[in-house]
Amino acid sequence: MRWKTAEYAGWGRALRAKGRLARPERQAELARLIATSPAPVLGARRSYGDACLNPGGDAILSTRLDRVLEFDTQTGEIEVEPGLTLADLLRLARSQGFLPPVLPGTGHATVGGAVAMDVHGKNHHRAGSFGQHVTALTLLTGDGPLRLHPGEAAFLATIGGLGQTGPIARVRIQLERRQAGAMRVTETRAADWDALVSRLAESPAEYAVAWIDATARGAATGRGIVEEAAPTETRRTARERRLRVPLDAPRLALAPPVVRLFNAAYLARVPKEGRTRDIPCESFYFPLDGIADWNRLYGRNGFHQFQCVLPEARLDALRAIFGAIVESGLASPLSVLKRMGPGRAGHMSFPMEGWTLACDIRAGDAGETAIRALYDDVAEAGGRIYLAKDALAGGAMVRAMYPEHADWLAEADRLDPNAAYATGLTRRLELRGTS
């Protein structure tokens, strides 16, 4: 197996790493690599910060291990290699009358990445997290493959476990039997924060999420669009779009006035009385995937995503955090508010019952200072930040936000005593101790 020395980054492109990359095309090669030179396994690098970086060290890419190993079309159980993309999983599941029960906002992410971050989707309040639908998985260890099942200590440490228990070589997922020809989406406008929040809180919909305008001030603060959806049997197929952002955009592209215009236009798309449409499943789950490399819109220096979740009872604190984002003027067009259920499947899983807010912010001193201040507010309110998005937090704070960190660490250290799978993120946050 040859190694390739490369410079690479996560989706936010604000942090970069240089190191050797291997990309096994076969399971036997992955096993050989792990036996001879263990290194963290990365998926599609759709995490924003350094969760998917190993600066100065080696890393193994899972992207060519992307096959379906078993698909029981009677029961909907599917066993796959970790590099299978979620877009592929969606396509294959639908072809047999099933749906993946949980999908995040990009179909480029891999199944391995979805497990290691225990990702959530627009239906988290109903369906829980990705890991809750994993019925078994295979981890590679120095002593060979290890089959894990829900409830086992190593399973709890692997789901949402940031890859620290070792390479995930196969994943078994219980799909949901659904005839989804398209998604029936209802969009309604909400005039301000209170309207938005109550609409989300009362929504009976299977999928419910709000797009929130982080530029509107005064009485309009917190205005946005609530999107509620459910699968429908009506068929809608996505046109194949081939848009690509070819270059790093100049600073102007997402300058505040441009963002304000974009937001106003986005809001105006939806008529006052709201609208209901059937849209292709891909466009619903992965709205931005039609534009390849859209992260380049933020220019060469990249961007960050601030994402937190606060407990149900601290909605007031979230309102204040959102207010601070609006005040900072660092807003991006992509701010998302969602109610989360309690569902989570691992010690280090992000979700908690409450409210999650996500907002993109251009990299640079102003943005980074602002994000760190927001992090303090999140900690204060008993919330947590999402490690799939983070590039800036401090270790002590994050360890306090994840109360099961010690349980996770015990398992990670047992399965990977030399911290061979440590990444930029686990070192920055000293999640594996100070080793």
Binding site: R2, R23, R26, Q27, A28, R67, V68, L92
Partner: protein
């Protein structure tokens, strides 16, 4: 009835990509190579993607004794075969161990040629498509990999003769000359440029097979690049360090 394809070297990235595309068209597949665990995984994947059937076969291209069994798996009638087996040791490894030249010739030329020659009767009687993956490296001997290039040049010539031999029988031969493709063979090699994803190559191959093209370069711009490279006079070419 669905078409049946024998894929030699189905454990290569390009072979896997072609097998998957064929699976989505509902083909029956016989996947051959040495890494049987890997082939089994690809077979399962192809079944999940819609293949009428996907079986695996152990193939050592240096051992023609096993060829009959694989050819028999396709059953009588129309048959299609795509050859991806290949081996490209570094030129300096070959310089250090000239015996490697035998292996390069066997894997890239004589093995595939023997397999296809054994398929001749069935092809000429019932028709079918042969896809032979050669390489731009066969278009001119470069100091960097001329042994591999010589083997591929031989394979290209073999395919050209086979095409002519089968003309009028309902069987057709496509010669495929990929440029640089993003596979295990090229991962981490210095000097790579314009590297194409294997899925792109698979798409070009299927289109060429459907349209009964004779010789394709993939991606297509390699035809122009190789036209230039072939037209450089030998007296100049020998001084170039490419």
């Amino acid at each position: 009835m669905s078409e049946t394809w024998i894929v030699l070297g189905a454990s290569s990235a390009m072979g896997r990509a072609l097998a998957r595309s064929l699976a989505e068209r509902g083909a029956g597949l016989i996947l051959a190579g040495r890494d049987e665990d890997d082939l089994a995984a690809t077979a399962a994947d192809c079944r999940a993607r819609g293949a009428a059937d996907a079986e695996i076969a152990r193939l050592d291209i240096g051992d023609p004794a096993g060829f009959d069994d694989i050819r028999a798996m396709a059953g009588p009638g129309r048959v299609n075969c795509a050859v991806f087996v290949g081996d490209m040791p570094a030129q300096d490894e070959i310089d250090a161990d000239p015996a490697l030249i035998d292996r390069v010739m066997r894997v890239n030329l004589t093995g595939p040629a023997q397999f296809l020659t054994g398929l001749l009767p069935q092809l000429s009687e019932h028709g079918g498509t042969v896809v032979g993956v050669s390489s731009v490296a066969g278009d001119r001997g470069r100091q960097g990999n001329y042994v591999y290039g010589a083997a591929k040049a031989g394979f290209t010539t073999y395919l050209s003769g086979l095409r002519s031999r089968l003309e009028g029988t309902g069987a057709h031969v496509v010669t495929v000359k990929p440029g640089f493709v993003d596979t295990a063979m090229t991962w981490g090699l210095p000097g790579m440029f314009l590297v194409a994803p294997p899925e792109r190559v698979a798409r070009d191959i299927l289109r060429a097979a459907d349209r009964k093209r004779d010789v394709i370069y993939t991606p297509g711009f390699w035809r122009a690049i190789m036209l230039i490279i072939r037209s450089i006079p030998e007296r100049v070419f020998k001084r170039l360090s490419i």
